[in-house]
């Protein structure tokens, strides 16, 4: 840091510190450090909270607390009849942040949209390999194969041309990786020989502008005075106090050192609900925890055997013991808060006697199987080992011997993809964009066999339904197709659907306007503090 830059930064920080005492500062005890500040480079929610949901905006965005897509930097859009062209009309007069390190000379326009996507799309873009350029979400959502070209019609109109119709395309654009960067800032950094600064000192059009980051300690943001949504954000300063330990976060919350904390210890939840200094918000998470059979290996290639095992599983006991009440029994592969959830589907009733009889009717005797328990904690499965033990006990009641196996997380993910895998795998999924395709096609589609489809299940009637739903734009028709797919899934039982977790957010009583977001983001744009 040069002396001049140090003086400038010191002056800015002192001015902000002085002003902060008279202003409202919201402190969020975040659970970890962001990997960087360019949300397109990463896949973790912690990084998205600190970048995509604070500093940046997108063409379309999720309405906080829902998976409904609303206009963002684009005021409106229209799709061509064949579903191959999407034209976005951009909001005029949107300003990029003016910070200690960048002063924009122009408003947001089509060049920024084109830059934000082309750096991920095109090998020849100067930013394609900057900061490692892995673009995992862009690749994971198949955007590279999907987008044919992005054209600037005029300064405030952009057209995306696709290679095939894709109904979830608009929902994809509301995801963090589709955040809009400043092309002007990127050009300046490239010219200065420091393109990586885009990932370290971010500039966007979001509700908060980046002020400073002390690694692993504190991230500071100030209100964006020119934010395009009137009257927002409500607080003047936002601070992320990075606090990895959940018990310590709770202590800080009680001591008034922070206003909001995520991911409480399940064991602390009951006490928090009784604590007068804490307000507890909760919402069903957009996730599913499941056990996937290997449907390509006998006897699990027989749907009746899978169904019998599902009937032997006491899912309510799992919810009580493993989730300590912070979950609900899952009957479908998508969560109940997602559109097209088929509530008419009947879950397999817990009936060990009937399950045993069913296995015998299928000629299965003295069955031994492996159950894979994840070595990590996830919202959809806070304790896989304990869950596996409960399943082991349940299955022993119908004469099925279970051996529990586990591997290091990377190994677990890798080995569980094998089509000749021995055993049923405990795993789960948290939704990215609120579209059923993001669950059903990724986790159960034929393309995922040998990969993210851990059941190795490719069932043509199901596949036909989800592929058709991907290409039609009529919402009612899509809903019907996904409902049909869920009924087929239940009949074929490639998984035992186990649980959807409940997300708890403890906060101080003075916090107002916080809404738990189903996609797992922590959003502070509409949050205020009572005087």
């Amino acid at each position: 840091m040069t002396f001049r830059k140090l003086l400038t930064t010191t002056g800015l920080l002192m001015a902000l510190a002085g002003a902060a005492s008279a202003q409202q500062t919201l402190v969020y005890c975040s659970e970890g450090s962001p990997e960087g500040f360019d949300p397109a480079l990463y896949t973790s929610g912690t990084t998205f909270d600190a970048s995509g949901q604070t500093v940046y905006s997108r063409l379309v965005e999720f309405k906080t607390g829902t998976t409904e897509v609303i206009p963002g930097l684009a005021e409106s859009y229209e799709a061509s009849a064949d579903g191959l062209e999407y034209t976005f009309h951009l909001r005029p007069g949107v300003k990029f942040h003016t910070t200690g390190f960048f002063t924009p000379s122009r408003d947001f326009n089509a060049d920024d949209v084109i830059f934000s996507f082309e750096r991920q799309l095109r090998d020849d873009n100067a930013y394609h390999t900057v900061s490692g350029g892995t673009w995992e979400y862009f690749a994971g959502m198949s955007m590279g194969d999907l987008i044919k070209s992005i054209e600037k019609v005029d300064d405030l109109t952009v057209k995306f041309v696709l290679n095939r119709p894709e109904a979830p395309f608009i929902a994809n654009l509301a995801m963090d990786f589709a955040s809009i960067m400043s092309a002007e800032y990127a050009d300046q950094m490239l010219a200065a020989g420091t393109p990586e600064m885009l990932n370290q000192e971010p500039v966007g059009t979001g509700p908060f502008q980046f002020v400073a980051y002390q690694k692993d300690a504190v991230i500071r943001y100030a209100k964006n005075p020119s934010y395009f949504r009137d009257g927002l954000p409500k607080v003047d300063n936002l601070v992320f106090a990075i606090t990895p330990d959940a018990s310590v976060r709770y202590q800080k919350l009680q001591a008034g050192e922070c206003h909001v904390m995520p991911y409480p210890n399940p064991a602390d939840i009951a006490g928090m609900k009784d604590n007068a200094d804490v307000v507890m918000m909760e919402q069903e998470g957009l996730n599913v925890g499941y056990m996937a059979y290997n449907t390509q290996v006998a006897p699990f290639d027989n749907p009746k055997v899978r169904k019998a095992l599902n009937m032997a599983m006491d899912k309510q006991a799992i919810i009580d013991v493993v989730f300590q009440g912070s979950g609900q029994v899952a009957k479908n592969p998508i969560p109940p808060t997602m559109w097209s959830y088929n509530d008419a589907v009947q879950d397999d009733a817990y009936d060990p006697a009937a399950a045993k009889a069913m296995l015998e009717a299928e000629g299965v005797k003295d069955l031994s199987m492996k159950v894979w328990a994840m070595p990590v904690q996830r919202p959809y499965n806070p304790n896989a080992r304990r869950m596996a033990e409960l399943i082991q006990e349940d299955f022993s009641k119908i004469g099925v011997k279970v051996e529990i196996v586990s591997y290091e997380w990377g190994e677990y993910l890798d080995r569980s993809k094998a089509t000749d895998r021995d055993g049923a795998v405990l795993l789960g999924w948290t939704g990215d964009n609120g579209d059923p395709d993001n669950f059903l096609a990724v986790l159960l589609g034929c393309d995922g066999v040998g990969g993210s489809n851990r059941a190795q299940w490719c069932h043509q009637p199901f596949e036909d339904a989800i592929q058709k739903a991907k290409t039609v734009t009529d919402a009612a028709e899509r809903t019907r197709l996904y409902e049909e797919a869920q009924a087929i899934f239940k009949d074929q039982a490639p998984w035992a659907t186990i649980a959807h977790s409940v997300v708890f957010m403890p906060m101080r009583p003075e916090v107002e306007g916080y809404v738990v977001h189903p996609l797992g983001s922590h959003i502070f744009t509409e949050v205020g503090l009572k005087q």
Partner: protein, 335 residues
């Protein structure tokens, strides 16, 4: 003295090569692939996996990868983190001052309390103070750090509200890093109350981190003192009518210090290991947590570079300890 110093530095070379080799091999021997870990439940297609392997250089033979790494190390380049995309040097030096500050405070507490406690215990051998102290030291040595830290937080921060829960300074204070040492930077900032806030944030983590070295130093001082106190020259000193303070504090303690200094030098390794848990619980932004996170993420450059730099830091401290031997006992220097 210079020759002694050069000889010592020369012994660094094989250790340095050994550490470089071990840190390179260690992370690769562990099961788990950084690309698979990075992709998570989402997974990665075989084509994409191949692309990323090429990008990170994992497709090259292991020997070639090691050569690249060694070449980088010798040119002062420890690589770039797979995760944050920042140079390992930059990350290390942004975090190391926090660990150093905490470790220095912890070792000061451990020495300031451990040596007098050990001396008093030795001079009151078998009495109530000795027994209480040694039992307390044993408890301190065997206590799980995370449990001890949480207990202190609940009592002193939660119930009594005497100290802040975690962090390095109150969020109200806001100034850029100059040295990275919060105590110094808070003074330089000129902001009223900043230094006091930094001190109050250091209290609990320093106590927690000091606990094990304090117990070890106290016990080591006691046993070394007991050995020295039975020597003839101590009896002579007492017979000469010297005050107990001069006998114990000067004649005995000086000779008992050699093993104590060895233990203090070795405690640096313990401090860094203890810092991993202490830093996690107290949200202390140091290298302990950084290293652990990097192991979980299989962030090879950070694990390799971090281990190497920590090893160098431990070697430097041990060099200082060796030099201190020479100062305390000239016979060692002359040998």
């Amino acid at each position: 003295m210079l020759r002694y110093l050069l000889e010592k530095i020369f012994t660094f070379v094989p250790t340095f090569i050994g550490v470089t080799l071990i840190s390179f091999a260690f992370i690769r021997v562990l099961p788990g692939d950084p690309i698979i870990v990075m992709a998570g439940e989402r997974g990665v297609t075989p084509e994409r996996y191949k692309e990323l392997q090429e990008q990170f250089g994992f497709d090259r033979p292991m020997l070639a990868q090691f050569w690249d790494y060694m070449n980088g190390v010798l040119h002062g380049d420890l690589g770039t983190s797979f995760v944050t995309k920042k140079p390992v040097w930059d990350e290390f030096f942004a975090l190391f001052p926090a660990t150093l500050e905490l470790s220095i405070c912890a070792i000061i507490i451990a020495i300031a309390l451990g040596i007098p406690a050990g001396v008093i215990a030795a001079t009151h051998r078998g009495k109530f103070f000795d027994r209480t102290l040694m039992s307390t030291a044993l408890v301190g040595y065997s206590m799980p750090i995370f449990w001890w830290a949480l207990l202190l937080i609940i009592v002193f921060s939660g119930m009594l509200r005497w100290t802040p829960v975690s962090g390095r300074i109150d969020l109200l204070y806001f100034f850029p890093d100059v040295t990275g040492f919060m105590l110094i930077d808070s003074l330089l900032s000129g902001q009223k109350g900043a230094f006091a806030s930094a001190v109050s944030h250091l209290v609990l983590p320093s106590i927690v981190l000091a606990t094990i070295p304090l117990a070890v130093i106290a016990r080591q001082t006691r046993s070394a003192m007991l050995e020295v106190l039975s020597e003839d020259y101590i009896r002579t000193a007492r017979a000469k009518g010297l005050s107990p303070f001069r006998v114990n504090g000067l004649h005995a303690l000086r000779n008992a210090m050699i093993p104590v200094i060895t233990v203090i030098g070795l405690s640096v390794g313990t401090l860094l290991a203890g810092a991993i848990l202490t830093e996690t619980i107290f949200s202390w932004p140091g290298i302990g947590k950084w290293m652990v996170d990097s192991i979980f993420r299989r962030d090879y450059p950070v694990v390799q570079g971090g281990l190497l730099l920590v090893a160098v830091a431990v070697m430097v401290v041990n060099l200082v300890v060796d030099l201190l031997y020479g100062l305390i006992n000239p016979k060692i220097r002359k040998r």
